[in-house]
Every structure is written in C-alpha cells, then in structure tokens.
Amino acid sequence: MRASKRRSLALGIMGLLFVALSVGTWFASSDDAAAEYGDVIINNYSDDAAMRPVIFPHWFHRIRFRCKVCHADLGFRFKAGGNDINMLKIFDGEYCGACHNGRIAWGVENCVLCHSGKPNMKTGVHNSTSDRLVAPVGR
C-alpha cells in the first residue's frame, strides 16, 4: 500500500517534470523569430563572400532619420534585397555609404556591426505581419 503510494507520487513528480520540460523548451527555444519588428536581413552576396548576412535595424534608423532621407534622397527601394548594394558602392558613398563614412556615422571598417547575422538566413523583413500568420500565405 505504502510502496504503491510512493510509486504513484514518484510517477506524478516525473510527469510534472516532463510537462515542465516541454513548457521550458517551448519558451526557451530561440530558433524562431524574436527579432525586432522591421529588422531587415540582407543576404544578397554575404554568404557567398563568407561574411555573415547584414541585419539592418529599421527601428534604429527611423529614430534618427525620416523615411524620406533613405527612401527618397538616397534611393533605397521599399524592398528587402531589392537594392543592389555592394561594398564598392558603399565605399563610394552610395546607399549605406552616404552616412557610414566616418563623418555622419561610423565608417565601413566596422564590418561586424552590420555583418552580424547567423549564416544562411534568407533576405527579407523580419517579423512582418504575413510572417506571423498562423497559416502561411503565398508570396
């Protein structure tokens, strides 16, 4: 009687731990998108060049510049990966290089501040409404 009680108690504890483990791994896993809304991953050329993909924090830049500056004056199209950006253009003052020149913002020698993403990620805007749908829609 006593032994069976103890056994069921042990089973109960194991069960609870099992549930706790599932819940724990559920919340603790960070494989998926917790990225800030609007973070843009740009991996047009990075992987092929053995660099980490670029993560452009849109939120950080909109605190400092109105949309107009980049999207009208600098010619960034409203499309993740839709701008043919490479380092040579940046050195020559195009795209990111219009500011990241050591004068308006820190310069191009700080590679790892932009090339900071996990390798092999797809180009795109992170955490968009369509990304977050429970049932995915076609692109």
Partner: protein, 229 residues
C-alpha cells in the same frame, strides 16, 4: 505576460536540471524547428497529475521566443558569436519612455515624433531642415460595414516624401487605386510599409476609423440577403 513566460521557462529549466539529475529520467522533447508551424496544443504523453498537457492551449498562438524588443544576442537572427553583436543597442533601451502600442515595435511612432521624443533628420546635410508637410485627409469608402478608412497625409508627410508613394504606388486620383486587405497582407499598396516596418495591419482601427453613417448602414442592410428574407 512575457516576463511571466520567461520566469516559467527559467524555473522549469531549473526544475529539470535538479529533478533530472536526481531521478536520471529527463526525457527528450523535440524542439520546434525554424519554420515549424505554431503548435496550438501539445501532447506530451506524460501521466501528469495536473490538467492534461494535451489540452494546454497556446491561446496567443505564440511561436517560441517571440518576446518583443529582445536584445540582439537573443533575438534568433543575430549571431551571438559575432564580436559586434554585443555592441548593438537593445530595442528595449531605445524605446524606453516612448508611447506604446500592442504590436509591431510596440511603439507609437507618430506620437513619439509629435511629442518630440525623437528628432529624426529630414536632410542629410542639414539636421535642422523641416519636412514638407501636407494636411489633406482622404476618406475611402470601404466594403461592408467596416468603418471607412481615414488616410491622413499630414502624419505620412512627417516621415515620407511625396515621391515615395506618388505615382508609383498610389495614383493621386480619386477611384484610381485598387486596394484590398489581401493585397496589403501580401505587401502591396499600404502593405509595402504597414505590416513590415510601419504599424502592422492587425491594428485595424487605426485606419478603419470613421464609422459608417446610419444612412450608409441602412443602405447596406437593404442590400443584404438578410433583409430580403
């Protein structure tokens, strides 16, 4: 809410570490992969004494690790092994004191700008330049009983230039633009920004903000199949 979730995660992880070591029975649970579907309910097969785990409802349909404004090293896309990652600003720090919303960055950017909490430049070579503003509000009649859409040029010209939208995205002419929520969700028209970087389309009433008049609703009800029965 999410704080509580992370506390639960930490506590349960600790419980597992302790319990697993004591009992030597910590089971392997498959971890959701990158593009795995959101699990609404999860069966564990355990003989739990509490409520059945199979009926634990993921009521917010959350993906694992979807806390807002999380630090870059833990956000799932930045590489923690990258030496620059630790230098990046945390969104939670940048957004401290900004007016909040429930979605997107959890920031009401229009109110933040209006309150002077940020001073984004309009011109690269002239930080003091003022934007060219236009105060023209467009009301779009929409289908069904949904409130009509009120589009304020004023708030948009605070951020954008006329050429950003006209004429490539929107033809500046009444009735010339076909707009649908399905298209917006797929990133067309308003959806080029809203749902990607500007406030997301789950915030319905920020656009659908003008209620239909009694007359409009009466005409609708006459057209509806209910009225014909």
């Amino acid at each position: 809410m999410t704080d509580r979730a992370s506390i639960i995660a930490v506590l349960s992880a600790l419980a597992i570490a302790a319990g697993g070591a004591a009992l030597g029975t910590a089971g392997q649970v498959p971890q959701p992969a990158g593009d795995a579907p959101i699990i609404i309910a999860q069966a564990t097969g355990a003989q739990a004494t509490g409520p059945s785990a199979a009926n634990t409802f993921n009521r917010l349909m959350k993906r694992p690790g979807s806390e807002p404004n999380i630090q870059p090293s833990k956000d799932g896309i930045h590489d923690p092994a990258n030496p620059g990652t630790a230098l990046l600003q945390w969104p939670s720090e940048a957004f401290a004191g900004f007016p909040r919303t429930n979605d997107g960055n959890r920031v009401d950017w229009v109110k933040t700008l209006a309150a002077g909490l940020i001073r984004p430049w309009t011109e690269l070579e002239d930080p003091e330049a003022e934007p060219f503003l236009m105060d023209l509000t467009i009301v779009r009649q929409v289908k069904g009983s949904m409130p009509n859409v009120v589009y304020p040029h004023l708030e948009h010209t605070q951020w954008l230039d006329c050429t950003n939208c006209h004429d490539e995205i929107f033809v500046p002419e009444k009735g010339a633009n076909q707009i649908s929520m399905a298209g917006i969700l797929l990133g067309q028209k308003c959806g080029i920004c809203h749902g990607r970087v500007a406030f997301p389309i789950s915030d319905c009433r920020r656009c659908h903000s003008q209620p239909k008049t009694a007359e409009e609703l009466r005409q609708l009800s006459e057209k509806s199949s209910w009225a014909k029965q």
